[in-house]
């Protein structure tokens, strides 16, 4: 009831006189709804529907009361005020328009259901197709993108691009992973990937062409795909297979490294400060910035995407730790530099090794200069050197000509 009268608009009046009760009775009898009647001094104030002021005045005249309008209230009156506040009303409209405008852009793009496929890969492809944060929602052709995704990614078996509000979600299902079959049919040779001396050769398929102790050069065929079928003395013919096997060889590698005698070291004073900044797409807005001069080492602690409920905003809150530091120039002795170099070279050599490799020997030669030490290491290692190489058509033709 009160809400209805609020929407219709109401008038606040004060009734004064000897028989204000009679006035109220008469008004009620004539169908005027009165509420919030409160005694106020000699008279009483009350609220009545806005349209009933004529009846109230007639009643007051008959009962000898005086009524006085105190004010108007309710929705029509509230809206009526905007006639004077045009800028305010314009702002309200502008806000609504802004809200509509901002909600007609894509703000976030999410990928769901990818396991093997990289999210970045899909997102960048969608970006090329016109689906990325910041684009006009109506320009996004979801059906086209769905089809293009299916065409371009063989691993996707099902995909749906959906836009809900300002979020675009790419839901996809991947195909069952293909089992990598070892191709035994296509003719291919095993060739050397580096120069070296063969230590061991095991051929699973194909004809081994080298023996332990042989010196091979990069590109030499180690296990050939040619198979000679037939007993000796009888008619023989050649067949081709996919060669397979393991060849271990001793190979040498040269590494050089330099180490200056003078170096810079970073010293921390122990002072730490937090830095907060707001990231909008690529731009960074440093809001809370610690003051203090000198050098700082900055470490990003976390980047939290901001959201309003389920609605993800394209904003990120970045928290950094700044550590006060000082750069000091230092000098090291030749001996120190040498031991450091040796360590570095050993590490480098180990990084070169494959899972099967082994370092046999490292020989390091140092050269001393005025401001630096230079090291040259010769590394001897046992390493697998076989590499698959497809037998090209050309070779086959050559062979055919030869026969």
């Amino acid at each position: 009831m009160a809400l209805w009268y609020y929407l219709r608009g109401y008038v606040r009046i004060r009734a004064k006189g000897f028989s204000a009760e009679r006035f109220m009775n008469m008004a009620a009898y004539r169908g005027v709804y009165l509420w919030d009647v409160v005694q106020a001094g000699a008279g009483m104030t009350m609220k009545a529907a806005g349209g009933s002021l004529d009846i109230l005045e007639a009643c007051a005249e008959k009962t000898g009361c005086t009524i006085e309008v105190l004010g108007w209230g309710g929705l029509p009156y509230f809206l009526g005020r905007f006639r004077k506040r045009q800028v305010w009303a314009a702002g309200l409209l502008l806000f609504a328009a802004g809200l509509y405008l901002l909600s007609s852009f894509i703000w976030t793009v999410e990928v769901e259901g990818n396991e093997r496929l990289g999210e970045e890969e899909i997102l960048s492809f969608c970006g090329e197709m016109g689906l990325k944060p910041g684009v006009w929602k109506r320009n996004v052709d979801t059906e086209d993108i769905t089809n293009k995704l299916l065409e371009n990614f063989a691993d996707i078996s099902w995909v749906s691009v959906g836009i809900r509000g300002t979020d675009a979600t790419i839901k996809l299902a991947e195909t069952i992973e293909k089992v990598e079959l070892v191709d035994q049919e296509t003719p291919c040779d095993m060739v050397a990937s580096a120069d070296g001396v063969i230590l061991q050769i095991t051929a699973e398929r194909g004809t081994p062409l080298v023996m332990a102790g042989d010196v091979v050069q990069k590109g030499d065929v180690l296990i050939s795909s040619e198979l000679t079928i037939g007993l000796e003395g009888e008619e023989q013919h050649t067949e081709y297979t996919g060669a397979e096997g393991a060849v271990t060889a001793r190979i040498w590698q040269r590494l050089t490294e330099e180490m200056p005698l003078q170096y810079e070291e970073v010293l921390y004073s122990g002072v730490e400060k937090e830095n907060h900044s707001l990231i909008f797409s690529e731009k960074e807005l440093d809001i809370i910035h610690p003051n203090g001069d000198g050098e700082w080492e900055k470490t990003v602690l976390e980047e939290t995407p901001l959201s309003l409920g389920d609605f993800t905003l394209p904003l990120k809150w970045k928290k950094e730790i700044w550590k006060a530091c000082e750069t000091v120039e230092k000098e090291r002795t030749v001996e120190e530099a040498k031991s450091l170099l040796e360590e570095n070279l050993r590490k480098k050599a180990e990084n070169l090794l494959s899972a099967y490799g082994k370092i046999e020997n490292i020989e390091i030669k140092f050269e001393e200069y005025a401001d630096c030490v230079r090291a040259e290491a010769e590394i001897t290692m046992a390493e697998r050197i076989e590499k698959k190489q497809l037998r090209t058509q050309e070779k086959e033709r050559e062979n055919a000509d030869g026969i």
């Binding site: 009831m1 204000a20 009760e21 109220m24 009775n25 008004a27 009620a28 009898y29 169908g31 709804y33 009165l34 509420w35 919030d36 009647v37 409160v38 005694q39 009483m44 009350m46």
Partner: protein, 87 residues
Amino acid sequence: MGFRKNMTEALELPKEIMLNLPLISFIGREEVSIENYKGILEYGEETVRVSTATGILRLTGSGLCIKQLSAECLVVTGKVEKMEFLQ
């Protein structure tokens, strides 16, 4: 009147309609609604007198205020201390 009352009682009809009696309901002691009243005789913060078919009803209390007033129903709020029928 006697016949009407007997019949209403026998048929269990709502008395406030058949006999034009006031229906008074209290919500705690802060709100009283009086339906089927005849008119307000006096209104003040301490006393409200209402004329009904069974006589004059007087409400005494403090901070009394008429929350609603229409031809059928009267709702008084405030701190009600006493309700009595005069005459």
